[in-house]
Amino acid sequence: MTANPLMIDVSGVEKAFTLHNQGGASFGVLDNASLQVQAGECVVLHGQSGAGKSTFLKALYANYSVDGGAIRLRDGEQMVEITSALPRRIIALRRQTLGYVSQFLRVIPRVPTLEVVMQPLLDLGVDAAICEAKAKDLLQRLNVPERLWSLAPGTFSGGEQQRVNIARGFIVDYPILLLDEPTASLDATNRKVVVELIREAKARGAAVVGIFHDEDVREAVADRLVDIKAI
């Protein structure tokens, strides 16, 4: 068996937060963090609350900047060093390569659920009928009632919004998928659906890095458990 290609290559990442308006308090969160993830592999980060799991994931998405080290992500044949890449390079990377799913939906006012879910795939120039079919399939699998699809999700319950957000996060077959507690507070039925979605992503070769507090989800998807303090 040939080795799967390296998708994520993090080495020596440092990250501290300095609160200039609160007496300049500074605290280090990541110290020399390194991690390699291959295609088809799911790495689950664990560690206590506040240990830096989310910070690490946000650094991988270029949502947080880092103070040192390298974060290279595969985009086709190339490895992109995201710590120094231009904003438009990161945006292009996020559009087709790098997916991020949290438990929170950032609501765009007025936009109906079905369109919220379709949008990332539409942005790639995929035919609207195909996007719609895939969005409907995902919403159905995640048990979002059909009568809600034409409504903007702003008024939905927390759990419904969360599932809309998961559908949106899985509509594009991203080669790299970052999951920040997408299953938090979901019921067992829907957790199972998310587990299936993650397994399908792995099967098509996606590299997945996730944070999950539910042990059953962790057991079901993780190839490796990594302690954030040890990386």
């Binding site: 390296l6 290559d9 300095t18 609160l19 200039h20 308006n21 946000k58 270029a62 949502n63 947080y64 900047s65 290279r72 985009d75 044949e77 190339q78 490895m79 992109v80 060093e81 120094s84 890449a85 231009l86 904003p87 438009r88 390079r89 990161i90 945006i91 765009i108 006012p109 007025r110 936009v111 942005d123």
Partner: protein, 272 residues
Amino acid sequence: MNTAVGLLTSTSEWQDIAPLLSVRELNKFYAPGKGCGDINFDLYPGEVLGIVGESGSGKSTLLSCLSARLTPDSGNVIYNSEQFGEMDLYDCEESMRRVLMRSEWGIVHQHARDGLRMNVSAGANIGERLMAVGERHYGQIRTKAEEWLTAVEIDTGRIDDRPSQFSGGMQQRLQIARNLVTHPKLIFMDEPTGGLDVSVQAKLLDLLRNLVSRLGLSVIIVTHDLAVARLLAHRLMVMRRGEVVETGLTDQVLDDPQHPYTQLLVSSILQN
């Protein structure tokens, strides 16, 4: 390790695309600390750049300098024009700047009355820009005006009404239609949602977001509203006392601000 793999930061294909607008060492001061200075950036086709900062930080002065409405004290603004090729905005004929303003550029003012002619009909407001670029056929102008009214969600039955009879939100949408009818490449916006009700703001933002992505527009938008910046801008420049204090990817600047002033701005937003 991995030295065999091509490292892509700002190299290869990403450098082959020429910037639409390049700003170098731009300075314009009315008094010390009033105006803007030491401004440098490139804007690429399809990019939306947000300029944020408090009142008096120099945002609007900068926007005026960038859009050929205010001659800077020093520095260069290089625009890559479809008609004229690469040109320095303040080292060219006045007539060329005027041509740009009515064809390749659009300017959306905070107060719609600054960008509209209040005493002629909505249709004429849109048609005027078309005629300025040589359109003469009355029927075609009216058809296009109707198309653009529809695109900005104004009932075409209002085509013969004057903007003074429109609500603030409708006036703002009409101003956008008037700007977009000539298919500009670059739009300058100064607080486009300022002064509008929150419900009207949401509608306008959604409309702008759709138009910008559908038409692949490049936009420079000045706003003091960070929620507007987050929704529309790909990247941000944070200004304070005439200087750029922080710049970067929009969500990175807002979620992980580095400069004390940006941290203060972000932490001042009410959380819901």
